[in-house]
Symmetry: C2
Subunit: 348 residues, 2 copies
């Protein structure tokens, strides 16, 4: 049941690396005591952060990587020049089988480019997508793509729907996730042509997906569907808009409570409620986006997160590894696309 | 100073029309006592809603319109078949000069199609855009396009920036609004090609705009810039995502306060603060989107709003009319584009 699971960590990625990564690994060990880490980065910076004889020291191994991928490095440049970077070597460890998955808080574009180059996509998927889950009125939902593919055609969107379906079943434990395509209206004639074509494909594909048609921006928070499919440009804007709105309301809430003495007292009494609210919308809780569609578990942590957030990203990686997610997604994609191509062939 | 201003109202548009429109007109008169309304719609439905001898009765005139544009009518169909609709006749009144502006809570696509057909765009603008203002951490900002143009090229985006600049100066009273292009990163190489080209045009145009480059989704709530420029698809998704997130957090807040007795007491004491918060994020306060770029003031109210929200949409129309907004925007666009073409000519 609890076979030792090894994850590789890019210790040098993120605003507060490597401290944040090391503290995050320690926190993750509290939840997953059987984890083992390969920590990639500059040994002279990492070694002093790990107390000899500590739980982390026993559960990890530092692997020296001389280079660091800059947070503003162009993906193509990082790919060519970053062969001895902590990010690249951490991904290589997944390829070689030394690790079951990798977690990095570094440059998203570079991580995607390297992961694609090293791990390749699974059969049936042209382009990987970034997926994450977030709170809704009905519980939690999954959205993809969150920024890997700015331009998508209908085939990409259909593949995202398939990957989102499998991801939602794995991380949210749903039997049959409902799927919606993000659009500017629910009527059939609205939106970009490739979105309408994707809807037609999903409806007529014969794949056993619970496709519910179009959803709009407010359906994200409402939790109208379990999986929201969109291109990487729109998904990225939507995700960040939601984060910005949550921050804005948090600020308004604090300001409102300071507006009178009675409110200040109310605020003090309401501390548990406010703490509870804060925890429910805490972006660190939802930290850890999955690069879906690759031959390996690659989890991107938010660059600005802290140890608590990074530990959650490690948790997502651990969950997916323990569920044999990559094999599951391969099987599902094969089954779904096979079924779809049979249907297509039958229709011709 | 307070010359009588006439607005035409589409009494039949919106979920709770015509009652909501009539009550909204009454509320608007409290704030703008010098307003006069031409109320278009089915006389037999509208007349019973107006108390004879009331302030509204004295300040309005019902103009019978036998037809109603359905909320799900296709714009092209509404344009061809809706010549005797309340929406169309209300727009015609602006064209004829009977009214200075029109307010409708009806079908957005039909309203845009009819307004474009009847009023035409101002010189220098190819396509009108939908603009609205919303709360931010720094005050209020303007965003456009919110859904009129799903596909935009760089020229459209540049025109939106110009219109947004003039709109922000008029409705937010800013001297020199800062302008940002919505993108998935602030670095120059990110995003769709037409967005990058629009940034180059805005930087090199020589127009006296305070263009700040790219902004991301979380900059909307942060209020990083005064004017956010984007295509209608992205703008619509961002706006609705923000609305959905605000609703979600409101729900979480209520649930959190109910989670313990102490929190319930805190909630009671905090009522003024919570009321204040609710009012700050109340979408009805920000109701009234402007169709920018037309030869006439056309304000779209949210279809699901109530009388309070509709009165705010009337308020936006009244504000813009009193400021001679259409002439201002015409002048500014002429000046800006003239300046830009001079610069272009000089550069050749």
């Amino acid at each position: 049941m609890t076979a030792r699971l090894t994850l590789s960590l890019d210790a040098m990625g993120g605003d507060n690396a490597p401290e944040m990564v090391i503290r995050g690994a320690e926190l993750a060990l509290e939840r997953f005591p059987d984890l083992h880490f390969l920590i990639f980065g500059r040994e002279e910076q990492i070694a002093p952060l790990i107390v000899p004889g500590s739980i982390l020291a026993k559960a990890s191994e530092i692997r020296n990587a001389p280079d660091v991928v800059g947070s503003d490095a162009k993906p193509s440049v990082a790919l060519r020049g970053g062969r001895s970077s902590s990010m690249r070597l951490a991904i290589d460890a997944v390829r070689s089988g030394d690790a079951s998955g990798v977690v990095s808080a570094g440059n998203t574009g570079a991580l995607m480019a390297m992961a694609k180059f090293v791990l390749h996509t699974v059969p049936g998927i042209d382009r990987p997508a970034i997926a994450s889950f977030f709170p809704t009125q009905r519980g939690e939902s999954v959205m993809l793509d969150l920024g890997a593919n700015l331009e998508c055609d209908e085939e990409n969107l259909v593949q995202f729907a398939i990957m989102g379906d499998v991801f939602a079943r794995a991380v949210l434990g749903l039997q049959r996730p409902s799927i919606g395509l993000l659009n500017v209206g629910v009527e059939g004639q609205k939106g970009h042509e490739h979105i309408r074509r994707a809807a037609t494909l999903l409806r007529e594909s014969g794949m056993p997906l619970d496709f519910r048609g179009f959803v709009e921006g407010d359906d994200i928070g409402a939790g109208t569907v379990d999986v929201i499919v969109t291109d990487g440009f729109t998904g990225n804007v939507a995700l960040k808009t939601a984060e910005g709105t949550a921050k804005l309301i948090g600020l308004f809430l604090r300001e409102s409570f300071k507006s009178s003495l009675l409110s200040r007292i109310g605020y003090l009494l309401s501390q548990p409620a406010i703490k509870r609210l804060r925890s429910r919308v805490d972006p660190r809780r939802y930290n850890g986006a999955m690069f879906l569609g690759l031959n390996g578990i690659v989890i991107k942590s938010h660059g600005g997160t802290d140890a608590f957030g990074f530990a959650n990203a490690i948790g997502v990686a651990a969950d997916l590894c323990m569920q044999g997610f990559i094999d599951r997604i391969k099987d599902e994609i094969q089954n779904l696309t096979l079924e779809a191509s049979n249907q297509k062939a039958a229709a011709l």
